[in-house]
């Protein structure tokens, strides 16, 4: 079961593995009768989820469910994948395979921590010193200067002595009145994760029971459909426009599949110092590039169209004579049928355009059923349906109708491209384009404990993540401040997270810095 697997330490590459600091070889004053045994706790907090949780956990509300195990169990792909790891990402199961691993994240039913008990070798020396025949003045002097002896014996102790002189007296050693701060292992740095190469990405698809490879294959088919439509257009501008649209769909579908494949890798979701939000923002960037592509194609279509118009206006002979009867009236246009089928398959199977469609809601399209509510699908489907229906109804596609259709498609593409570019560009500009931020801030200001707001930044990182970073000046004590923080986090989630039902899938990471005013 994936949830029972421990989460071992991520490799901490750039910094050398700092060993747990050896217990300072400290020796107390001259009263140490017994050997001093000291406990050394070697704990290392190496839970990768604490540095970059991948799922939203509400430990306080769900009680014991908030353990790191349950939160990591929600992302089973990583564990599954790394079981047969042959490649890039750090082996997650190294901790269990290696018996010497000091990872403390082994599930321990009794919640106690292993303690290493060390007999300090000093104790024997202490005894031997003590057992010397006492009370000669020389010996007394010798005893008084024993610190120096130890310092010579353990030269590294020089300068490290600190704290209470009687800490290791028999009393304090046994009753732990004087507690040393526990020796601290260095905290885990976020692991730096390698970005997979194309080859690794391809190999990773082998583990996913061929489903991903089938999807890649389908994307190629989708592109082939676009090529076929372009080929069969034979001069019809509207059909050319449609083929452009299908090509756009095909590339978007490939991006969808690429995102899915990259999800095999940890670097995609897990944040590191190099990629603070994983690589998930790359999808937004690719989407932005795609919207530029769409804009470009619409420009291209319009300018082609204009050129044709200009050519026919003048006395010039058009380069390629239009075949007005590309498809004989009354028959079915195979290209149009193919394009509808391809679009539907990509939409249903690959969830093409899904995340972008969610991020960009057209209010007036929301009521349409199913995939039609997605503007990209709506555009392609309506275009191809039109191309299918027109010959069926025995409507001659005149040149002007052809041009009109092409222009309409191009304008629609332009509108869609602009909208896509805006939505994703805003995300890339680190802004939050939803509404409700000012309401939330009003409510925050109205909190009686809040004295002032230094900074409030709400922004969307990628399709699935938003951040709210607030710097507040507050009054009140610690517990009140903690409560306030919880309230604000809940408020942001409830107001901006979309609530239940809508399924926007937006996760909000709320960080509140509270400066307590006295």
């Amino acid at each position: 079961m994936a949830s029972s697997l421990p989460i071992p330490a991520p490799p901490r590459t750039p910094t050398p593995p700092t060993p747990i600091r050896e217990e300072e070889q400290e020796m107390g004053g001259g009263l140490g009768i017994n050997g001093i045994s000291r406990t050394v706790r070697s704990t290392m907090a190496l839970d990768p989820n604490s540095l970059s949780p991948m799922t939203d956990t509400f430990p306080s509300r769900f009680g014991s469910m908030g353990s790191p195990m349950s939160s990591s169990a929600n992302t089973p792909t990583f564990n599954n994948f790394n079981n047969n790891n042959t490649m890039g990402p750090p082996p997650l199961n190294a901790g269990t395979l290696n018996p010497n691993s000091t990872s403390t994240s082994n599930p321990n039913p009794f919640n106690f921590q292993t303690q290493t008990i060390k007999e300090t070798p000093l104790s024997t020396i202490a005894k031997s010193v003590w057992l010397l025949p006492p009370f000669s003045s020389e010996q007394r002097l010798y005893l008084l200067s024993e610190q120096e002896i130890y310092a010579n014996y353990y030269p590294k102790n020089i300068g490290q002595r600190r704290g209470h002189r009687y800490k290791h007296s028999s009393v304090s050693a046994q009753h732990q009145i004087f507690l040393e701060p526990p020796p601290r292992a260095p905290l885990a740095l976020p692991a730096s994760l390698p970005v997979p190469t194309l080859r690794e990405a391809w190999q990773s698809t082998a583990n996913m029971d061929k489903a991903q490879r089938l999807r890649i294959l389908w994307c190629a088919c989708h592109a082939l459909v676009a090529a076929y439509v372009l080929y069969s257009a034979s001069g019809s501008l509207a059909m050319t426009a449609l083929s452009h649209l299908i090509f756009f769909d095909a590339i978007s579908a490939s991006i969808c599949v690429a995102v899915e494949i990259f999800c095999n890798f940890e670097v995609w979701k897990r944040s590191s110092i190099r990629h603070p939000f994983g690589l998930e923002r790359a999808e937004v960037l690719a989407g932005f590039a795609m919207s530029v592509f769409l804009l470009f194609m619409s420009f291209d279509l319009i300018s082609h169209n204009l050129k044709h118009v200009l050519e026919s206006l003048g006395s010039h002979q058009p380069h390629h004579p239009h075949s007005h009867h590309r498809v004989s009236p009354g028959s079915i246009d195979s290209a149009a049928v193919l394009s509808i089928v391809a679009t539907l398959i990509s939409a249903v199977v690959l969830d093409n355009h899904k995340r972008i469609g969610k991020a960009m809601r057209f209010v007036y399209l929301d009521n349409l059923p199913g995939i039609l509510s997605n503007p990209a699908h709506l555009l392609t489907l309506s275009c191809s349906t039109l191309m299918l229906i027109l010959p069926l109804l025995s409507i001659n596609i005149y040149i002007w109708l052809d041009r009109l259709l092409c222009t309409l498609t191009a304008v629609a593409m332009f509108a869609l491209g602009t909208r896509l570019a805006m939505t994703q560009g805003l995300m890339l500009l680190m802004s939050y384009s939803g509404t409700g931020v000012s309401e939330v801030m009003q409510q925050v200001v109205r909190e009686p404990m809040v004295v002032g707001v230094e900074e409030a930044r709400f922004w969307q990182v990628h399709f699935g993540l938003c951040m709210a970073n607030l710097k507040l000046r507050v009054t009140g004590d610690e517990t009140q401040v903690g409560k306030l923080r919880e309230r604000i986090a809940l408020l942001v989630r409830n107001r901006l997270g979309g609530g239940y039902g809508k399924g926007s899938g937006l996760k909000w990471e709320v960080t509140v810095q509270c400066t307590i005013e006295k």
């Binding site: 406990t39 706790r41 907090a45 839970d47 989820n49 604490s50 540095l51 970059s52 949780p53 956990t57 430990p59 306080s60 790191p68 732990q176 507690l179 260095p186 905290l187 976020p190 944040s271 110092i273 190099r274 990629h275 960037l285 590039a289 530029v292 592509f293 291209d300 300018s303 204009l306 050129k307 200009l310 003048g314 006395s315 380069h319 570019a421 890339l428 500009l429 680190m430 802004s431 939050y432 384009s433 931020v437 900074e455 409030a456 930044r457 709400f458 970073n469 607030l470 610690e478 401040v481 903690g482 923080r485 919880e486 986090a489 990471e509 960080t511 509140v512 810095q513 400066t515 307590i516």
Partner: protein
């Protein structure tokens, strides 16, 4: 300097637009298709310039509620968009060129074409003069003045040396490289010049917006120069393949030259932390764990903020305070420490054992020692 940039873009855009109008009007009067289609092309250039102008102006806007980190990224965004656009254009040019090569279509009205492209070249040369200085990062001006002299030596190295004498478009981007492929040389020389001075500034002040516009104008200049040369060659030799061949070569050059632009702007937009900053951040984080009262930290996220040209590291971090420490004190000291390292972080300090936060802390991994016996 910033206002200077946007003014430059504005002037050139106006010039471009005026030229487009004149061209379209004249083309309409004389019923010249070449002029008309060229003015369509000019119009798209104007659009790209307009986007660049908007980005240059907007990048100075202050942060607001809607744009909490300001508009520092908009220039990278515009550069990225321009780079993608250029790539698409070059792909399209190549497709068209192969089509024309296969068709063997005859190029007509050579004289008209020659004049139009000469005028376009003149306009674009003005643009190059405008943006040439600032197209690149701006720390490699040294060789600009004698760039002209090298025009011919590079001509031979270039792959498109078959049109003997178009060093007009070469001399303007001569100033930042001495290596073989003038257009591709954007990244390597920068890296070399970086090695000289301190780290950490290589990626700052690298105006991708101006870079994108520069590349765009450069592409146009090369395009019109290529048309001139190829029409001359067609006239002289009589083979129609010169034109698609020249445009193909130029398309490849444009494609290659927009790759570094896309790469650098994509890195900025992905919020990737540069190598040297990453190294420093690791050291800083190790320092944070040594601070008194800090039990651990969760979800450290840092990114490069670039409001008002000043690059600094922004970020978010949740600190877990040890039991018995004053939360406000821990926050203050951690913050001071981080600010001292040049990192501006929103710090949320939590109490050890307080599991209410989303950051999914697994709890008492690091609680103070329970009394051992």
């Amino acid at each position: 300097m910033a206002e200077k940039d946007s003014r430059r873009i504005f002037y050139f855009m106006t010039l471009n637009f005026a030229f487009m109008l004149v061209q379209a009007g004249y083309g309409y009067v004389t019923d010249s298709l070449g002029l008309l289609s060229d003015s369509i092309h000019m119009f798209f250039d104007c659009l790209a310039l307009g986007v660049g102008l908007f980005a240059a102006v907007a990048s100075k806007w202050p942060p607001s509620e809607r744009f909490p980190y300001g508009f520092g990224k908009i220039e990278s965004l515009s550069g990225f968009g321009n780079g993608v656009f250029l790539m698409l254009i070059s792909v399209e040019i190549m497709i068209e060129a192969t089509e024309r090569l296969a068709d063997g279509r005859e190029t007509k009205r050579l004289a008209e074409l020659f004049v139009v492209s000469a005028l376009g070249l003149a306009v674009n040369l003005i643009g190059m003069a405008c943006f040439g200085h600032h197209g690149h990062a701006g720390h490699d001006h040294g060789g600009h003045d004698h760039g002209h002299d090298h025009g011919h030596s590079h001509e031979n190295v270039n792959s498109h040396d078959h049109h003997g004498h178009d060093h007009d478009h070469d001399h303007t981007h001569e100033h930042d490289h001495g290596n073989q492929t003038p257009l591709l040389s954007d990244a390597p020389p920068k890296a070399v010049s970086l090695a000289g001075h301190s780290h950490g500034h290589g990626h700052s002040h690298d105006n991708e917006n101006m870079h994108g516009i520069f590349l765009h104008v450069l592409a146009d200049t090369m395009g019109s120069a290529a048309v001139m040369v190829s029409t001359a060659l067609i006239y002289l030799i009589g083979w129609n393949g010169w034109d698609p061949l020249a445009s193909c070569v130029i398309a490849i050059l444009i494609f290659m030259s927009s790759i570094p632009l896309i790469k650098s702007s994509a890195k900025k937009l992905l919020l990737t932390v540069p190598d040297d900053v990453e190294y420093n951040l690791r050291a800083t984080l190790a320092g944070v764990s040594d601070l008194r009262g800090v039990a651990s930290y969760t979800v450290p996220r840092f990114w490069m903020g670039d409001e008002n040209e000043a690059e600094r590291v922004l970020g978010v971090m949740h600190i877990v305070a040890t039991r018995g420490s004053d939360i406000d004190d821990v926050r203050e000291r951690t913050r001071d420490f981080l600010v001292g390292k040049g990192v501006d972080v929103v710090l949320q300090v939590e109490r050890d054992g307080d599991l209410s936060c989303w950051c999914g802390r697994s709890g008492d991994k690091r609680s103070p020692a329970t009394p051992g016996f």
